[in-house]
């Protein structure tokens, strides 16, 4: 039963990710006095892309063609271990939160290689920048996540969220630090303003878009979908680690339905916050990103230390 639920949950996650992207875009449009596209526009884009014939550079190797599938499936593995609507998730045991970070690194490894494959300056530029940013972001993310895992004394995400729920609402300084660290990391890793602008195609500023410039058709669809999944992944992580209330703890139908509504509400609010901050902020220079991310790292570390010194003291 719970395995079936895990599968449904993963499929639901995959299906909902474009909706979140659409909602985010809609919010931004409203805030910037533009006419918003339909909420379902990302689905139509993906559908259109899958039906187009992909054009592949003649200098590309097999790695370029296989990379989108690897990126997509690595991201799917990462999301399959995150509790979305119910805490009890059997897949969380097979891959804990460190493995989750590992699979995100896996996807990024191939994305960066694919950027270098064709041999244009754009691809190299994107790969180099992406690896730089992720080098700073990955440790910060691990620090934030370790604060949670040390509080719950388990790296199993499902059990850890269960632990936070069982503890009830309690003000923990470490969690506040970790929350801010994770938000900063999420902004950097999903390529949002102020680190990267998802809407830009200006060569001097783009990061993510530069790497995937050569992709088209179904390959592009998979990569786009994977980055939408990644956006939602960070959203769900933030929502369910720090505000886990509402997530289903039993497998009854009303609890699950309530859980689904809760996560949709939480994600909608988070996306609204992101849209507001994206509207208010301007993109940073590339070499300011290190300061941004070392700040995230510092917050993560402070969170961990405050857990060790203040909360775990005996």
């Amino acid at each position: 039963m719970s395995i079936l639920l895990a599968m449904i949950q993963t499929l639901l996650f995959i299906a909902l990710a474009p909706l979140l992207a659409g909602w985010l875009k809609g919010c931004k449009c409203h805030l910037q006095n533009r006419k918003a596209p339909s909420l379902l526009q990302p689905y139509q884009d993906l559908l259109k892309l899958t039906h187009k014939q992909p054009v592949v550079s003649k200098d590309a190797s097999w790695l370029f063609i296989i990379a989108p599938y690897i990126i997509f499936s690595a991201t799917v593995i990462a999301i399959s271990v995150i509790p979305l609507i119910a805490v009890d998730l059997p897949t969380a045991a097979s891959a804990d939160v460190i493995v989750l970070v590992g699979f995100l690194a896996f996807a990024r490894f191939f994305l960066a290689l694919a950027g270098l494959d064709v041999g244009t300056a754009f691809g190299g530029m994107g790969s180099s920048r992406e690896m730089t940013i992720s080098t700073m972001a990955e440790p910060a993310m691990l620090m934030a996540v370790f604060t949670l895992t040390m509080t719950a004394s388990t790296t199993n995400l499902s059990l850890a969220i269960g632990h936070v729920l069982a503890e009830g609402l309690e003000l923990r300084p470490s969690f506040i630090f970790a929350l801010f660290a994770l938000i900063l990391v999420a902004v950097a890793e999903t390529g949002r303003i102020p680190v990267d602008n998802p809407a830009t195609h200006l060569e001097l500023t783009m990061i993510h878009e530069a790497m995937i410039l050569e992709y088209s058709g179904r390959h592009l669809a998979l990569i786009e979908w994977a980055s939408q999944l990644k956006l939602m992944l960070y959203g769900v992580l933030i929502a369910n680690i720090f505000f886990p209330w509402g997530i289903a703890q039993t497998l009854s139908l009303p609890a699950l339905g309530y859980g689904l509504l809760a996560i949709l509400g939480k994600l909608a609010i988070l996306a609204l916050v992101l849209a507001i901050s994206e509207t208010l902020l301007a993109k940073m220079r590339l070499f300011r990103v290190q300061e941004f991310l070392s700040f995230a790292y510092l917050l993560g570390l402070l969170g961990m230390l405050s857990h060790i010194i203040l909360e775990a003291a005996r």
Partner: protein
């Protein structure tokens, strides 16, 4: 039986060295053959034709490597036997000093390192014949290469067997000196001679430190005995134990390549032949790790937590420094050498973690950290061998080790590139490969820090975990750069454009074997971790009973509810997800791929020079971590009319290690200064020398009376 296998491994590697001596003795060999089979003329003829003049050198090379392969098989069998049976075998050899025969001991720790060496030399024995085939026999005689390889490998194996300090040092010196000759093998370049000289000096300084460490221990042992049994029972005060530990750390750390004692590594590894650098980097550094484990965990016994802190800090410095230096290297083998410094640093961090937990009375967590360290040592031996052997193949094809001369090799060398990719993924600790599992175990150990009472340690260990996370992320960036610039994109040089896949089946087999093992232990780490628990049991007094308690599918280092990882299930999920997306999207032939030119912004004419190079890729890192290196970057512009031509701009980048100007050059200067002041005694005047003798004589007479 197991000891017999271990002896056989030593013997066969020694024989393989001796066989190389016959390289130029064809006549004597033929004579010997004729003498041996005077009765069987048909054998004689067959052997004659088999050893024909033109192919005689190749036959000797093949036989020599075959013996090495047999030695490898014996070493693997001995290692597995020792690990599974958990026996401790003690023996004595009637060799060495009259009052001190060589003591031999083969326990599970030796067995593990036997296994590591066995796998490495087995792979090398398949790789070697193809690699040395094209060597010019006049300039680079196989006689020297084969002889010293044999001595080097048997020296390493003997180090693992030694059970007294004399025997240990003899074997250690055999390993060091033989490897000096291997580094100096291509001695026609002055840079290589210099590298070999630096290596020799540092190896000997390290050896002196090790001898002193043994000396400190022996002076507290019963009757000043040098057997390990006596050293184990020696009771030292805390201070003297720390002195011995620091000496051992300097000695073994110098061999292992801890920052700042690492400087010989990036000099020596690039100049040795590739299979030798693979052995030096993959295996010899592990023998140094073995030495430190043997000395501290086994001989010294009572671990103090301060040692653990020292190891962790040194390890973290080495790990971060190693990978940051590696990232800036355009030379493939130098990059790999620096990456070895990084991995040794990670191993030392894990050992330090283990020491802290052991000293604070948590043997089960100490065992976990210890197993993580050993597993990482094992994994590093696998993927670093693979990388160095792959580098050798590529060097043959591209005729250069400069990464910026490569590019586009994925199409020219399809098999090598795939195997190299596996190595890059393992060393970047991506899930499903073995490097990930050892780092995962390290994180799991570090996360148990809550059990410690000491607040300083409780805050230090998470910082170290953060350093480990940063190291892993930097390693991923470094190897993306390496693989991307070497194999992807357009060829950057004529040789790279014409490179071809190696035709030698043996070379590809050895690479495939290592790559297969990387994947196997990434998916089924439990196989190895159970065995490693047997190593931890006698040394730490605690095994890892829980590691595979939940079945062979699962890895649960502490307890199932704390952390679990099941690579087979994850692999299955990956295959399902990848398979569905692949199948669903590829089924319509109407939307198959269309090939076209690369997007060139409409200007046309993309050239290989427009690609990102090695130094371009790492430019953001250079800005962010600028303080780590000594960067000398100059841009010269020819004064002239606008617009500037590309040829008018000259860019130069030179990056150096801090340790040379900060540490070694002052030492060099002071040695020179002392030497100069001493040399004032040498006036060249015979009367002065006679008066020296006279005063010495009077002084001695005064001392005696």
């Amino acid at each position: 039986m197991i000891l017999f296998l271990a002896y056989a491994a030593v013997l066969f590697s020694f024989l393989s060295g001796l066989l190389a001596l016959l390289m130029r003795q064809r006549c004597s060999v033929i004579k010997l053959v004729h003498y041996c089979c005077t009765k069987r003329l048909d054998w004689q003829q067959r052997l004659d034709s088999w050893l024909e003049q033109s192919i005689y050198p190749q036959r000797i090379q093949q036989l020599s490597f075959m013996l090495l392969g047999i030695a490898g098989v014996f070493a693997i069998l001995a290692g597995l036997g020792g690990l599974i049976s958990k026996q401790v075998i003690i023996a004595q050899l009637p060799l060495g000093l009259p009052w001190l025969p060589w003591h031999v001991r083969f326990d599970s720790l030796s067995a593990l390192f036997y296994l590591i060496i066995g796998i490495a030399i087995f792979a090398v024995s398949w790789y070697g014949p193809g690699y040395v085939k094209d060597n010019n026999e006049q300039d680079h005689p196989f006689l020297v290469l084969g002889l010293f390889s044999g001595l080097f490998i048997s020296g390493m194996l003997l180090v693992l067997l030694a059970d007294d300090a004399f025997f240990f040092m003899i074997a250690w010196e055999m390993m060091s000196v033989a490897s000096y000759f291997l580094v100096a093998f291509q001695h026609e370049n002055s840079a290589n001679r210099r590298a070999a000289f630096i290596y020799l000096i540092m190896a000997e300084v390290g050896a002196i430190a090790i001898i002193l460490a043994f000396g400190v221990l022996a002076s507290f042992s019963e009757g000043g005995a040098f057997t390990f049994e006596a050293l184990r029972n020696a009771t030292l005060s805390d201070t003297w134990a720390s002195v011995a530990f620091v000496l051992a750390l300097i000695g073994f750390g110098m061999k292992a390549g801890l920052v700042p004692l690492h400087v010989w590594l990036p000099e020596a590894h690039p100049v040795a032949p590739s299979h030798i650098s693979a052995l030096m980097s993959g295996v010899m550094l592990k023998v140094a790790v073995y030495g430190l484990i043997r000395f501290s965990f086994d001989l010294l016994g009572d671990i103090q937590w301060q040692w653990g802190v020292a190891l962790m800090i040194l390890g973290a410095t080495s790990a971060l420094g190693g990978i940051l230096y590696a990232m800036m290297q355009p030379n493939l083998k130098r990059l790999l050498a620096y990456s070895s410094v990084e991995n040794i640093g990670i191993i030392f961090m894990m050992l330090g973690l283990s020491m802290i937990f052991l000293a604070k009375g948590h043997p089960s967590l100490a065992a976990l950290g210890f197993v993580a360290a050993l597993f990482h040592a094992f994994n590093h031996a696998l993927f670093k061998n693979l990388l160095f052997l792959g580098a050798g193949i590529i060097q043959h094809q591209v005729h250069s080790l400069n990464i910026d001369d490569m590019g586009g090799l994925i199409k020219r060398m399809p098999h090598t590139s795939k195997l190299f990719l596996i190595a890059c993924m393992s060393i970047s600790s991506l899930p499903l490969f073995n490097g990930f599992v050892s780092e995962w175990l390290a994180f799991q150990t570090a996360l148990q820090v809550g059990v410690l009472d000491d607040a300083v340690l409780r805050s230090l260990i998470p910082v170290m975990a953060a350093a480990l996370a940063l190291t892993a992320a930097l390693a991923a960036a470094c190897f993306v750069k390496l693989f991307g610039v070497m194999f992807l994109g357009l060829p950057r040089s004529r040789h790279a454009a014409k490179a071809e896949e190696t035709q030698d089946k043996g070379m590809l087999f050895s690479l495939s074997l290592l790559a297969g093992l990387c994947f196997l232990f990434g998916i089924f780490p439990g196989l190895m971790i159970d065995l490693l628990g047997n190593v931890a049991q006698p040394l730490i007094g605690h095994g890892l009973p829980n590691a595979t308690a939940a079945g062979w599918l699962w890895l649960t280092p502490v307890a199932a509810e704390k952390a679990s990882y099941s690579a087979p299930i994850v692999l299955l999920l990956v295959v399902i997800a990848g398979g569905i997306s692949y199948h669903y999207l590829r089924r319509d032939p109407a939307v198959a791929l269309r090939e076209s030119d690369t997007w060139d912004c409409g200007f046309g004419g993309i050239t290989p020079r427009m690609q990102y190079t090695c130094s371009a890729f790492t430019m953001p890192f250079r800005r962010i971590f600028a303080k780590v290196w000594m960067i000398d970057e100059t841009i010269e512009k020819q004064p002239g009319a606008m617009p500037l031509q590309v040829t008018d701009i000259h860019y130069q980048l030179h990056i150096e290690d801090h340790s040379w100007p900060k540490l070694y050059q002052p030492i060099e200067r002071s040695v020179n200064r002392i030497a100069r002041s001493v040399s004032r005694m040498q006036t060249g005047n015979i009367r002065v020398y006679l008066s020296y003798s006279f005063f010495t004589l009077i002084f001695l007479l005064w001392v005696i009376s």
